[in-house]
Each structure stands twice: as structure tokens, then as C-alpha cells.
């Protein structure tokens, strides 16, 4: 799972009001190189919750994202490269996602988060 997906996911356990962002328990991170597409990044930027991305990338061991970002930074190739790397090249391979309200863990195995809810959570 890439941080792009993490930035979109939110806990939908019944009764949870603010399920975002999910905490990250890291057991294994892997990197997969992909080509950068500035148009995609520029288009996505408005939808990204920046602080959640910064925190998530830190927990994955990547500390090169600026604390704050605004759309004027999208003109900088250096910024785009960092944004690209954090968003699309880091993968949580093993670990868990954690509901911020209930602490419920969603295990991540082979890069796939198990988001299935128990019957009493629906």
C-alpha cells in the first residue's frame, strides 16, 4: 500500500466520527520506483491532507517532506520529486493501520490492508 492510498483511507467502523488519518504500524517498508508524472501530482495536491502525508512518510522512515506545503511549491522539481517519492514509491508491506478513534488495528500483509469489519463494527 502506497501513502497515496493511506491518505484517502479512513476508518468506517460504526460510530466512528473521525476515522482519519489511520495510524501506521510499520514492520516492513519496501520501495518500488515509478516514473514521476508532474500532472498527476499537481492534480492530486489539492486533495492531499498534507500533514497526514508528512506524518505517514516519517513513520515509514522518509523525512524529506517539508512540514508545510502550498501549491506554489509545485513549480519546484525538487519538491515534486519528494512528493512523488512519498506518495507513490514507498509501500507499507507488513504492519497495520490503526483506527484513530478506537485503536482497532487493520493488519497489512503482503502490502494489502485487511479492511474487513467484524459484524459488530458494521
Amino acid at each position: 500500500m502506497r501513502l497515496l492510498t493511506h491518505n484517502m483511507l479512513s476508518s468506517n467502523i460504526k460510530g466512528v466520527i473521525n476515522g482519519f488519518p489511520l495510524g501506521i504500524v510499520v514492520e516492513k517498508v519496501i520501495e518500488k520506483p515509478v516514473e514521476m508524472n508532474p500532472d498527476f501530482l499537481k492534480n492530486m495536491f489539492a486533495k492531499i491532507e498534507w500533514k497526514a502525508l508528512v506524518d505517514a512518510s516519517r513513520s515509514m522512515g522518509y523525512t524529506e517532506l517539508p512540514e508545510q506545503a502550498d501549491s506554489s511549491m509545485l513549480d519546484s522539481v525538487d519538491f515534486l520529486q519528494r512528493f512523488h517519492h512519498a506518495l507513490l514509491e514507498l509501500h507499507l508491506e507488513e504492519g497495520a493501520l490503526v483506527c484513530p478513534e478506537t485503536g482497532r488495528k487493520f493488519p497489512v500483509n503482503k502490502g494489502i490492508p485487511n479492511m474487513l469489519l467484524h459484524e459488530d463494527e458494521v
Binding site: L4, T5, N7, S10, N12, K47, V122
Partner: protein, 290 residues
């Protein structure tokens, strides 16, 4: 023909390791799913501006439908309830992120972030009650409600479905409408029992010209290659035309390809990073479609 898989067992049981492999090894199935996905992409009518979008593939299975999304240059998130199908998607190095989840429990995604959704041959599964706790109406409601919320305003969702009966189609469609979607059913080749395919074309947000339902292919009952949707498509496209930048750029300009990926992976390995091994699926050639 075997009876419908939907009535044999719940999806996560029906699509076990054996069935998932059988499904994905059949060149006939691969071809059919690719065609259905291509058509769904077309009906999704994304702006033709060369910008990759973030899409959802609901009931993504082993990644056959997602491959079409990747080939068109888009990023995607796939959701499926069958771990065996997802295992095969991993094996095939699906480029989207995969989630193990049940669409009937609703999608846990932030509001307004997804640019479009497709679902190929999956949503009819929601009409079954596989557990005593399952109430199809409620599961459809949870699904469509959460899908509506996570889609960006104006975004579309296209579902190719195999409803078992008219009642089932009605149930699916009315659940979608109640969630706020506009749209309807597009039937391709309605007069051919073999080629007939149904798509639910839904759009999010206030009804507008662009939420008019396109017409199906081969509606006149002529040959299966007859495409009567041409005019309608052109009309829809020319309307969204006004809102898009002049510069037209095609997605998926060949790219740097496999060589580049393999070299980059090597560099990352040498830096001591954990990088997955290479296989025949790594950065495989994409069909050049433009």
C-alpha cells in the same frame, strides 16, 4: 453453462485459490474482462487532457480490470473480498493498491477524493444474502452511499453488471438513485443473447447534460460491430471540451519502460532499500493505444 457463481457460494468462498487461478488463466476470460473494462473506461468519460486520475476498481479480483486502468495511464485503488483473487493480483504485479474489503460494508474513503470508479462483473454479488446478518438492501445502501461520498463532484461510476432478473437490476439502480446518483442503464447489443452487456452509468452531483445516459452499442439490433453511440458520445465530449485546457496531450507516451524500472530498482537496492525482485510482470509492456 454452469449455474451463476453468485448462487453457488459467497464470493470469498467461491473465488478460492483454485477458482481464482482458473479464472485468471483463461485467455477467454482475460479478453472478455479487458473488453468490458475498456467499454467502462469509455463510459466513464474522463476529461481527455492527458492527466492521470485516481480511480477505484470495486471487486477488482485478480487485477484484470485494473490492467485496463493502468494501460490508460491512471492510478487506481482496488477493493476485493477474496484473498485468493488478490493473491493473484499480487503475482501479476497489479499496479494499483489493493485492499481486502467488502463493498457491502461501505467504502472507508475520505469525501470527494476519487475521480471515478469502475466495477466489472461484481456488483450483482451484493444482491445475495450470504450470511444471516446480510440484508441486500442495507448493503447496497452502505455501498452506494459511501461511494457517492468519496467521489469528486461530477465524477462518474460505471458498473458492468450481470443482474439475475429485472427485479435485481431495479434493486441495484434504485439503491444508487437513493444515494444521490443520477444516471441509468446502458445496454450494449440488447438483441444478442451472447454479446448483450449491461452497464450502470452513474454520476455524482446535480443532474446536468453530462449526466445524460449515453446510448448502448448495437441498439438497432444490427451487427455487433455497429456502434450507434457515436453521436451521443461526441455530444457529451464536446460539452466537457469547453472546460478543458487547449493543450491535448495523450496519456501513456511510451514512458521510459522496463529498462528504466529495472535500473532504478537496482539503484535503490544498492542504497540498501528493500525492493521487490524482478519478474516477467515487472513494468511489462503496455499496449500502445494511441
Amino acid at each position: 453453462m454452469a449455474s451463476r457463481p453468485e448462487i453457488q457460494a459467497p464470493p470469498e468462498i467461491f473465488y478460492n485459490d483454485v477458482e481464482a487461478r482458473k479464472y485468471t488463466s483463461s485467455s477467454r476470460i482475460i479478453e472478455i474482462q479487458a473488453k468490458l473494462s475498456e467499454r467502462a473506461m469509455e463510459l466513464l468519460a474522463l476529461p481527455d487532457d492527458g492527466v492521470p486520475r485516481l480511480l477505484l476498481d470495486i471487486g477488482c479480483g485478480s487485477g484484470l480490470s485494473g490492467e485496463t486502468l493502468s494501460e490508460n495511464g491512471h492510478n487506481w485503488i482496488g477493493l476485493d473480498i477474496s484473498p485468493s483473487m488478490l493473491d493473484i493480483a499480487l503475482e501479476r504485479e497489479a499496479e494499483g493498491d489493493l485492499l481486502l474489503g467488502d463493498m457491502g460494508q461501505g467504502l472507508g474513503l475520505r469525501p470527494g477524493v476519487i475521480d471515478g470508479a469502475i466495477s466489472i462483473s461484481a456488483v450483482q454479488w451484493l444482491c445475495n444474502a450470504d450470511k444471516s446478518s446480510h440484508e441486500p438492501r442495507l448493503r447496497l445502501k452502505a455501498f452506494f452511499g459511501s461511494l457517492y461520498r468519496c467521489l469528486a463532484r461530477g465524477a462518474r461510476a460505471v458498473f458492468q453488471v450481470y443482474p439475475e432478473s429485472i427485479a435485481q437490476r431495479e434493486l441495484i439502480l434504485s439503491s444508487a438513485m437513493r444515494a444521490g446518483f443520477a444516471g441509468g442503464v446502458v445496454v450494449d447489443y440488447p438483441h444478442s443473447s451472447k454479446s448483450r452487456k449491461e452497464y450502470l452509468v452513474l454520476s455524482c452531483g446535480p443532474p446536468s447534460v453530462s449526466s445524460a445516459v449515453p446510448s448502448g452499442k448495437g441498439e438497432d439490433g444490427e451487427s455487433a460491430s455497429d456502434d450507434s453511440s457515436g453521436d451521443e458520445d461526441n455530444r457529451t465530449v464536446s460539452i466537457s471540451d469547453r472546460h478543458r485546457p487547449k493543450k491535448k496531450q495523450k496519456l501513456n507516451k511510451r514512458g521510459k519502460g522496463r529498462e528504466w524500472v529495472l535500473r532504478k530498482k537496482d539503484q535503490m537496492r544498492r542504497k540498501g532499500n528493500a525492493v521487490p525482485p524482478d519478474s516477467k510482470y515487472t513494468a511489462r509492456k503496455r499496449k500502445s493505444r494511441f
